[in-house]
């Protein structure tokens, strides 16, 4: 594990001569120490934790991070099982005034808990493994999408899922698209623009491949419209659902596929672009925090979220001047992982230039689904309680359509309000390229 490699008190020139973690011989192992001593217990993280706000049982990020680490200094202390209640929204990272790497601590603690303390034959473990490895199971569904959607949509399937495996029975399984993004890409013959000077490697992730290929297609059309050559390297899941379930070994195996593939694309002059903010968060922050793989820093430094990339590399505002799209009012929700990358408000700013579109930010509430979290029977209620504020704010906005970058936030938004949810790239596509 390389979690000792990032200086914990970042951004200070010249403070890298001494890293206290190096004095401890066990620093080679998974260790919750980095940054624990920076915590002065102001508890700001606790007041930001959406789970602690609605669930009295959850002891909060301060306990899960620095306090748990201190307890762990005594050999006979196990990781507390409450770490499974953390939804990995990473709001605590954003809250901490002292740069304590809270989410990194939570990820490592959860990994250790699952590896050493969890019964590998338990229903919960099996269920979590399935959720975390959605990308491994999805190809089956995608092979026979209509059948899969029919079976998954049956109430008996949902009832069985809840009774046998602990999936939240009230959730509708996301529909598989009739054609995956990758097969659409192959069918159209890959890239239609060649350009050695403007090249991107698209990290589509599982969801836009299997469930919402329209997002991937929108990205392709927008970037090609602006003259980019697009590569679609071989890839696996970004790892986000695996961290959240403590399946760090699964995440590492996926990263060991992704990093070399993406690094090779970078060598070919491409920048890595993601359309899902949890995917870009994972490649940028969690990979170098958790894994020691050749090229991992290179991938982190050259990964961008799609809209962010265009804002910095193109004159997007001039590009959008005078465009229009007849889409009306959107309630925009900034995903927690977008906020942590400085992308909150970005969609609202960019889309403001387009005629006929208005996006209203519904504020800083958390959707509550947090990837696989809200899919678990035991967390369903918590997830919906967290989301309640967002649902209310969405309903206050004129119009009945939602907008967000995150596929699971989108599921929750739809589940809680019945609104149809769009990705900002689709709006951009409508304005720049027009819909076909």
């Amino acid at each position: 594990m390389s979690d000792a490699q990032r200086p914990t008190d970042d951004h200070v020139p010249g403070d890298d001569e001494f890293e206290p973690v190096q004095v401890f011989p066990e620093a080679e192992e998974m260790d919750l120490r980095p940054g624990a001593d920076n915590c002065y217990k102001c508890s700001t993280c606790d007041t930001n934790c959406p789970v602690a706000e609605v669930d009295e049982e959850f002891p909060g990020p301060k306990f899960q991070g620095p306090e748990q680490w201190r307890l762990k200094r005594q050999e006979d202390h196990d990781i507390d099982d409450s770490v499974l209640k953390c939804s990995n929204c990473m709001r605590c990272d954003h809250a901490c005034p002292s740069e304590v790497p809270l989410s990194q601590m939570h990820n490592t603690a959860r990994g250790e808990y699952v590896e050493r303390q969890m019964n590998k034959f338990s229903r919960e473990y099996v269920r979590n493994r399935i959720l975390a490895n959605y990308g491994t199971f999805a190809p089956l569904g995608a092979m026979f999408p209509r059948l899969a959607n029919f079976v998954m949509g049956l109430s008996i399937t949902r009832w069985l899922g809840e009774k046998t495996l602990g999936f939240a029975g009230d959730r509708e399984f996301p529909e598989f698209a009739t054609q995956t993004f990758r097969s659409w890409w192959a069918e159209r013959g890959g890239a239609q623009v060649e350009n050695p000077d403007k090249r991107i490697a698209y990290f589509h992730g599982c969801y836009s491949n299997y469930n919402t290929p329209e997002v991937g297609k929108a990205l392709v059309r927008v970037f090609e419209h602006l003259g980019y050559e697009i590569m679609v390297p071989k890839q696996r899941c970004s790892g986000t659902p695996m961290y959240a379930n403590g399946m760090l070994q699964d995440a590492k195996r996926a990263a060991e596929v992704n990093v070399p593939e993406l690094a090779a694309a970078i060598d070919d002059g491409a920048d890595v672009i993601a359309s899902c903010t949890s995917c870009s968060m994972s490649l940028r922050q969690e990979y170098p925090e958790l894994f020691d793989i050749d090229g991992v820093e290179d991938v982190s430094e050259n990964t961008w979220e799609a809209l962010e990339y265009l804002r910095v590399h193109e004159d997007l505002e001039t590009e959008l001047e005078g465009t229009s799209a007849d889409l009306g009012e959107f309630a925009y929700h900034a995903p927690c992982h977008a906020r942590n990358q400085g992308l909150d408000g970005q969609a609202v700013e960019v889309l403001a230039t387009i005629d006929g579109v208005e996006a209203h930010d519904v504020g800083d509430s958390c959707s509550g689904i947090s990837g696989t979290y809200g899919w678990k029977e035991e967390h369903y209620e918590t997830s919906m309680k967290i989301g309640e504020e967002m649902f209310e704010h969405m309903e206050q906005v004129d119009g009945e359509a939602g907008l967000t970058e995150c596929p699971t936030c989108a599921m929750q938004m739809e589940h809680g309000t019945g609104y149809e949810i769009t990705h900002p790239l689709e709006v951009l596509e409508a304005a720049l390229v027009g819909t076909e």
Partner: protein, 457 residues
């Protein structure tokens, strides 16, 4: 390409938000970037201007500007307790003219302090009180002290120490930060002109010893059904029922500041109606809901004013324009430096706690622009032995000209288009003076207004 705006404010606390709002009033396109959430979440929510006079004027002037500094024989600096020098101040404005050169209030002038308060009043509206008078209000705090302050949340108003009605303070077993009987005892010892008692109760619906303050607020905001001891009841009803038997003719009841967040006003009115007396909050330490409500108020105002807000990422560096202008700053978005460009910049990154001023064993510095921070070469001169003494480190920060532009060691401007505001400034000790939020407001207002004027003018 860079992401472009007219004015870029770095820092999302009271100073930064005020600067952004003041600049936006001048029709500039403003962006505010904040890395971590601001220390407003640690703040009481009170707006102090000046509660106690500045300590030894000569010593403070020297501490703010000196690079050397002599130690006295016993290794300490002046240990004058500011409180013995007179205070609390009844009228903060009378004392402003006595402040030493280099104090942020001296830099902007008393008129600007007044204008900034009026500006704050216009933003805060009904949420804050105290604008009717120049005099300081005396607000009871959770420790049972009485704090002189200029503006206070509406929820604090019925609790003022100048009010002669008797008060009941209610604390909760699971909230050890507010010991109501102890606080009441301290208040009486401090000589408040009314009788005050404290009781400690169980908060209906809270079992956990360390439940988060947001959990209490959420229960009351949503009026969730809780176990009242006699069956389930809505949280506000259950709370009022728990408090009622303890009322003994008092005209007001004080709670720790947990009475709701988004629906705070409704929660308080509901409790007042059920109890038949006025209900107030006693400000306490972090994490603080009044601080969070103030943050929400400012961020809502920024959204209304069209300020663009970017959070979660730090500004780490800058590129100069060849000369003495900042061309762009670089924002670290998880390993990638992204450029942001503006015409004018405001630095409002906070002090030692907010990390706008940093220290290592042998130096004190400002990490983004490396603006000059005066401090003694020997770190043993950064503090005095008396824990409550006049510590030089409390005044560490940037020295600025009267236009709030940071000055280098030779008193020359560091940059043409950079102003600084709030706790990143040096030359004042907000903890001793009780001047933190007033300085942030006044300097944030002036820095933002000037930045906005230069853009549009």
């Amino acid at each position: 390409m860079a992401i472009e705006d007219d004015v870029l404010v770095i820092g999302g606390g009271l100073a930064g938000a005020t600067a952004a709002l003041a600049a936006a009033e001048r029709d500039a396109q403003v962006r505010l970037i904040s890395y971590k959430q601001s220390t407003l979440r640690h703040a009481s929510g009170l707006i102090d201007v000046l509660g106690y006079p500045s300590a030894d004027l000569a010593a403070s002037g020297e501490a703010a500007r000196a690079d050397g500094g002599e130690r006295t024989d016993d290794g300490s600096r002046s240990t004058a307790d500011p409180r013995s020098a007179g205070g609390p101040l009844a009228d903060p404005f009378e004392a402003l003219s006595d402040l030493p050169e280099g104090h942020p209030y001296e830099r902007v002038g008393a008129d600007a302090v007044r204008e900034a308060l009026l500006f704050f009043d216009s933003v805060a509206g009904d949420a804050y009180r105290g604008g009717h008078t120049d005099a300081n209000a005396l607000v009871p705090t959770h420790g049972g002290t009485v704090k002189p302050t200029a503006r206070y949340p509406a929820a604090v108003a019925p609790g003022l120490a100048s009010d002669r009605r008797d008060a009941l303070l209610v604390g909760f077993e699971t909230l050890p930060d507010f010991d109501a009987p102890l606080s009441a005892g301290h208040l009486e010892a401090a000589g408040v002109p009314f009788r005050t008692r404290g009781v400690t109760l169980r908060f209906p619906g809270i079992e956990r010893d360390d439940a988060k303050v947001t959990r209490y607020a959420h229960l009351l905001d949503r009026n969730e059904a809780v176990d009242s001891g006699a069956g389930d009841a809505p949280a506000r009803t259950a709370l009022a029922e728990a408090v009622r038997p303890h009322l003994d003719g008092e005209g007001r009841v004080g709670f720790p500041p947990i009475l709701g967040d988004d629906n705070h006003d409704v929660v308080r009115r509901d409790l007042e109606e059920r109890l038949g007396v006025e209900v107030f909050e006693v400000p306490s330490g972090p994490p603080s809901l009044p601080g969070m409500r103030l943050e929400d108020l400012l961020y809502d105002a920024m959204a209304d004013a069209g300020v663009r807000v970017t959070t979660g990422v730090p500004v780490v560096d800058y590129e100069a324009d060849g000369g003495d202008r900042i061309d762009r700053v670089l924002v670290d978005r998880k390993g990638r430096d992204v450029p942001y460009r503006a015409d004018q910049y405001v630095l409002a990154t906070g002090g030692l706690v907010g990390k706008g001023v940093r220290s290592e064993r042998d130096r004190v510095f400002e990490p983004i622009f490396d603006c000059h921070v005066a401090h003694a070469a020997d770190r043993y001169d950064w503090f005095v032995d008396d824990a409550f003494g006049d510590h030089p480190f409390a005044r560490f920060g940037l020295a600025v000209d009267r236009d709030l532009r940071p000055l280098d060691a030779d008193d020359d401007r560091e940059f043409e288009n950079l102003r600084a505001a709030g706790a990143v400034l040096g030359g004042y000790d907000f903890a001793a003076e009780k001047s933190g939020s007033g300085v942030s407001l006044a300097t944030g207002y002036v820095a933002g207004r000037r930045a906005g004027e230069e853009v549009s003018g």
